[in-house]
Symmetry: C2
Subunit: 472 residues, 2 copies
């Protein structure tokens, strides 16, 4: 391939037109129009096509349908007459997805002309890419090729029974039984949604924890709450084999016949086609190059790596940040480092699972106190008929500054935002208790957790009223 001459020279080449790549482009364009955006495969971001958006659409349907179980208690009759037309629900999901995909496309690739190249890029030199039979020299390159769902090699023998998020939303109908392999964010979200839509779901995972929870108290509550909706088989690898007209799934000494298996085993970075090994980039065992999470640069290279492809923070707002940082640095005279936002991860199960700031697994037990609240008696939770869950807030034992939180909580997504913002603003528990908590709002659950936390902090504030004293 050495015989292909470089036939185009640009300031920046961006590989991948997903969330990170488009965010990078938005920054690059502030400095230059001499760039290319290269994309292999289907257009539209992971988020819009197969991720956040269609999953939230189907979760909403499942939650609305599931809500009927509360109707009898409040005087609403006829809930047993409600039916779910799954093909219609899937079509609704795709309709919404198409709106979001069209939005992404309208803003970007539609108007790029020859700044857009359809094809898979591959490194020839650290500043030369080959794509679609052309060679392009780029002063800086942004890798934003995204990720794809992991499917074990051994599943090839029953490939026609395997679903991933790549094909799940294309299903016209749903099978009557599904094993969900992998109970991280996606497995829990889709597993619960499918179960609520009437599919017989079995959840399986090698780990003893679900949803990425590291706090044992939150994990136990999550196992209880989610486990009431569908069985969770934990701690053993999952094996499958064709058996008659079903797939037989085994995990430890449990087994079940199912129609399809939904692979939610994580997302692997799309690195294989890039040929990074050919340009002298050190990669780890997973094939992942080192990079600086504050600059997104690969050390010593004119190359930046942003979004899911770096396997660091596979979450939309982080991918967008990384794209902006990479794009900005790709056109900067000097590469700059940026402070990342406080970690915030939400699983849109019901109740929501959320992690904020430092995870339990990274806490120094001697330095930390934990405030805990269960939602059973929380007024608003009770009023909503959603009073299940637990919230645990971590703070520095000495002065009460917030460090992190973990929860499975009704409306946890909102509590998680309040907590993440408070942590990023270096608030302590005494100051937070001076904030308004409206009644009856779910935020009162957080207030109760903070009160539980406050008692355990060493340097006690004198302010028993939870109000700041005016001077003089």
């Amino acid at each position: 391939m050495k015989d292909i001459p470089v036939d185009r020279t640009v300031d920046v080449a961006i590989i991948g037109a997903g969330t990170a790549g488009l965010a990078a482009m938005s920054q690059v364009r502030r400095a230059t129009e001499n760039f290319v955006l290269i994309n292999g495969g289907e257009l539209g971001t992971t988020c819009a096509r197969v991720g956040c958006m269609p999953s939230k659409a189907i979760i909403q349907v499942a939650e609305d349908f599931h809500r009927r179980h509360t109707f009898d208690r409040v005087g609403i009759g006829g809930e047993d007459k409600l039916t779910l037309d799954i093909p219609e629900a899937m079509e609704h999901t795709r309709d919404l997805r198409d709106i979001f995909v069209d939005r992404v496309l309208a803003g970007t690739t539609d108007n790029l002309g020859d700044q857009f190249i359809d094809g898979y890029a591959r490194f020839v030199e650290p500043d030369v890419l080959e794509v679609a039979g052309h060679r392009i020299r780029a002063a800086r390159i942004v890798i934003a090729t995204g990720s794809h769902p992991v499917v074990p090699e051994s599943w090839q023998v029953f490939a026609d029974r395997v679903l991933t998020t790549d094909n799940f939303f294309e299903q016209d109908d749903l099978p009557s039984s599904v094993a969900v392999a992998g109970l991280g964010v996606i497995g829990l979200e889709l597993g619960q949604a499918l179960s609520r839509m009437g599919v017989a779901v079995t959840g399986v995972d090698m780990l003893e924890t679900i949803g990425g929870i590291t706090d044992p108290v939150v994990n136990e509550t999550a196992l209880t709450l989610i486990g009431k909706e569908f069985p969770l088989w934990l701690g053993h690898p999952v094996k499958g084999r064709d058996d008659g007209d079903k797939l037989l799934i085994t995990s430890g000494n449990q087994s079940v016949h199912i129609d399809k298996i939904l692979a939610c085993l994580g997302r692997r970075p799309n690195l294989d086609r890039l040929g990074l090994e050919r340009i002298g980039i050190d990669t780890d065992a997973r094939g992942m190059p080192q990079h600086d999470p504050h600059t997104m640069q690969i050390p010593g290279m004119p190359i930046f790596i942003a979004g899911d492809v770096n396997a660091e923070r596979q979450i939309l707002h982080e991918a967008a940040d990384e794209g902006r940082i990479a794009g900005s640095n790709a056109v900067a005279a000097e590469v700059a480092g940026y402070r990342r936002r406080t970690p915030l991860a939400i699983t849109f199960t019901d109740p929501n699972i959320a992690h904020v700031g430092l995870p339990f697994s990274e806490l120094d037990a001697e330095q930390v106190v934990i405030g805990e609240i269960r939602f059973g008696p929380v007024g608003r939770a009770l009023l909503m008929g959603r009073n299940k869950g637990v919230l645990r807030v971590y703070a520095h034992r000495q002065h009460g500054r917030l460090l992190g939180a973990s929860m499975i909580a009704p409306k946890g997504e909102h509590l998680a935002h309040l907590l993440a913002w408070s942590i990023q603003q270096h608030q302590n528990v005494f100051d937070l208790l001076k904030m308004p908590f409206y009644h009856p709002a779910i935020e009162e659950g957080l207030q109760a957790a903070l009160r539980d936390l406050k008692k355990q902090v060493v340097d006690q504030s004198e302010d028993v009223l939870e109000l700041a004293r005016l001077d003089g």
Copy 2:
């Protein structure tokens, strides 16, 4: 009555066993057990008995029932088979209310013994009260007698057709048509709930604004959204007269026959029985004594006035704060002032109406810029089928520090908390945009409003990435 001797001397007398009175008691008890809690009439707080709690219970039922209108769009069938059994819904509301009332009672009056006095107190001297035939001398007195719904005198002629929150929740069934007089918080909440439960509701108010909104843009959107559910007759006084077996309600040149009228014209402080005029306290035209909102003290008197009775902030968390301040000062060697929380008021309509910080009516137009977002295109709002509403955020024109916000917004209660906390923490728009906004969460609507705001601030931050640059 001069002949009744003082037969008991206490450190503190608290008049009223509602939210403010009980909060005061919790502080008084830190210093002394020589106090009395005096309560005339029914026990249980306004919040638990006739306010926040039962209203939120019935709103939840109405919202769950109303949600069926979204079912067809997503593939859920049979929504026309759903029925609402109103007597059951009312009973459910009372069941929940009783839980909350019992909780309040269990924590307090149940175990007070002779520290509790059942009766209406009346001032004889600034430090002497008469109640149930006894005179009590108290070194300090906390007035926390609460408020009651306003009903015009002229409505006496059709008194049997008048509902207030005092009797509304006791109804076994609901009338088929109701006029809601007064479209503040309570009128809008109950009006929308009744309408969604199948009652023919007509809303009437003298004002051209609803829900206490002073921002004209938010008001207009609120009129449109709420006005789609039931008619709003604004700008004229409401008149009523019996007409056959109905009540004829007239407002301007519109009129309607209805079964009952729900008076939501505000709540009047319970001051009349106290005899304040007899002890030389200056009162304004409404009969309201002056007081310091930071100490709750009536100037020059050993008397504190807390909660709804002072007509300042008739909201639970503020009443509780006032009670704590009053109680704390009632046993303090020196009276102390406390900083009040950032104003936060939420109307639990759908979408929520909320006011935070400075209201529009108090803004200095020359000093302020306003960020605005409509929820039509906000991803999560669209996914929930709740993409109606507007959010307006006010900031200082020069440096972008947040001042206030007004909204009618899906999940506005949570956005209002984030905004209130941010205002209390003196955040500016540039710092707030560095916080995490999860995708797809309703908080992205706030992010969009902040981005709209940012552009208008004079002192622009250089940080186009919305991320803090690391030093060095």
